[in-house]
């Protein structure tokens, strides 16, 4: 279903994206147009634009059809767990789901969790594994299976 489809950049940016955790972010210190929100074992982030189709174009290219669909736009805010299930993303009861509705020009992007078994991989190898959906929150990264 999902390949490393990144229309305007062939790979995720070489420079690491800046992560900004709102809970550690002082009010008014800095304003960014792209805000990266980090997935953790306890927090899963999901990006939507209920009013139109706002999407981090400069990083991910133009959005896929489903992102612009009435089904996704209507349901991602009110039943994100069911939506994630349709994408095959399991969300445990202990996980907090944070939905971001892109109502202004701020663009949100998810920093996916590092895949299991990826400890030995370098930046380039990790970048190869990052998928578009994982950066919207509708995908998670597959565990790395040892090739030996």
């Amino acid at each position: 279903m999902e390949g490393p489809f990144l229309p305007c950049v062939q790979k995720p940016p070489r420079k690491p994206l800046r992560h900004k955790d709102h809970h550690n972010h002082k009010n008014g210190a800095e304003y960014d147009d792209i805000v990266v929100v980090e997935n953790t074992p306890r927090i899963h982030n999901l990006i939507v634009c209920t009013l139109c189709s706002c999407y981090p174009w400069p990083v991910l290219g133009l959005p896929p059809v489903w992102y612009k669909s009435a089904a996704y736009r209507s349901r991602a805010v009110s039943e994100p767990r069911e939506v994630l299930q349709e994408f095959g993303v399991p969300i445990g009861p202990e996980v907090e789901v944070r939905v971001w509705d892109s109502t202004a020009e701020t663009r949100y992007l998810v920093l996916p969790m590092r895949p299991e078994g990826s400890q030995g991989l370098d930046e380039e190898a990790l970048a190869e594994r990052v998928t578009r959906n994982s950066m919207i929150g509708t995908g998670i990264l597959s565990p790395v299976v040892a090739s030996t």
Binding site: T50, L51, E105
Partner: protein, 226 residues
């Protein structure tokens, strides 16, 4: 406006077609429409806000049935008539409002050629909505606020589902062009923009998960102290 575009929380649209064709454009006309959009925006001095406003004014049945770039096409045709570039009669004779059938269009063999289209750099660079303002923020991080019960008939970016609902300010994102006035030619009137987090149960009731939340960026005049 309380239009069909304000979809958050609506029922009836069914499951998500997660396997839908992933290409950015499904026919050449879609890529052309994308490029024409940016060229026209630059030429006509239109803004993202006015573009969104014109799409929202499509009749609901058209909004729901047109393909995505067909909305752009029809909205632009209407805007060009509204602004006097073409008369309605000229537009009818040109027959440009007809959305091509996707199945009739040759599909691009490449995933996306958007980066080669004219206007793409403008599309990427965008037009910064940030403006410096010297007024003190009306709300501080951590403060509980409420979405105002407001129903302008023109463009606005407050979704219906937060009106009257309480949330907590996460961040002050500084001065931003106010879309409500900018979209209809009444000026930029920059206001502070805040990221506000609403508990899922505050928005959707007891059936929602107690851990979950929705965060939105809302302009100062969309909010009131709670």
């Amino acid at each position: 406006m309380d239009g069909i575009h304000d979809m958050g929380g609506m029922h009836g649209f069914g499951p998500i077609d997660t396997d839908a064709d992933d290409r950015a454009f499904h026919g050449e006309w879609e890529g052309r429409m994308f490029a024409i959009n940016w060229a026209l925006m630059a030429a006509a001095g239109m803004s993202l806000d006015s573009g969104r406003a014109s799409i929202e004014q499509l009749p609901p049945e058209e909004y729901l049935t047109l393909p995505y770039f067909g909305r752009w096409l029809n909205a632009w045709c209407q805007s060009l008539v509204d602004t006097g570039v073409f008369s309605a009669e000229e537009m009818r004779l040109l027959n440009v409002g007809k959305v091509p059938e996707i199945k009739d269009m040759p599909a691009s063999s490449e995933h996306a050629s958007a980066n080669r289209l004219p206007g793409y750099q403008l599309a990427l660079q965008g037009i910064s909505p940030r403006r410096s303002i010297d007024t003190e923020p009306a709300f501080l991080s951590g403060q509980t606020v409420r979405g105002r019960n407001m129903h302008p008939a023109t463009h606005t970016r407050i979704p219906h589902y937060v009106k009257g609902r309480k949330g907590v300010v996460l961040a002050d994102r500084g001065g931003h062009v106010f879309p409500d006035t900018h979209a209809i030619g009444l000026g930029e009137n920059p206001q502070r923009l805040y990221s506000v987090r609403f508990a899922a149960r505050e928005l959707w009731g007891e059936s929602a998960n107690a851990n979950d939340s929705v965060t939105l960026d809302l302009w100062e005049s969309y909010l009131e102290p709670a």
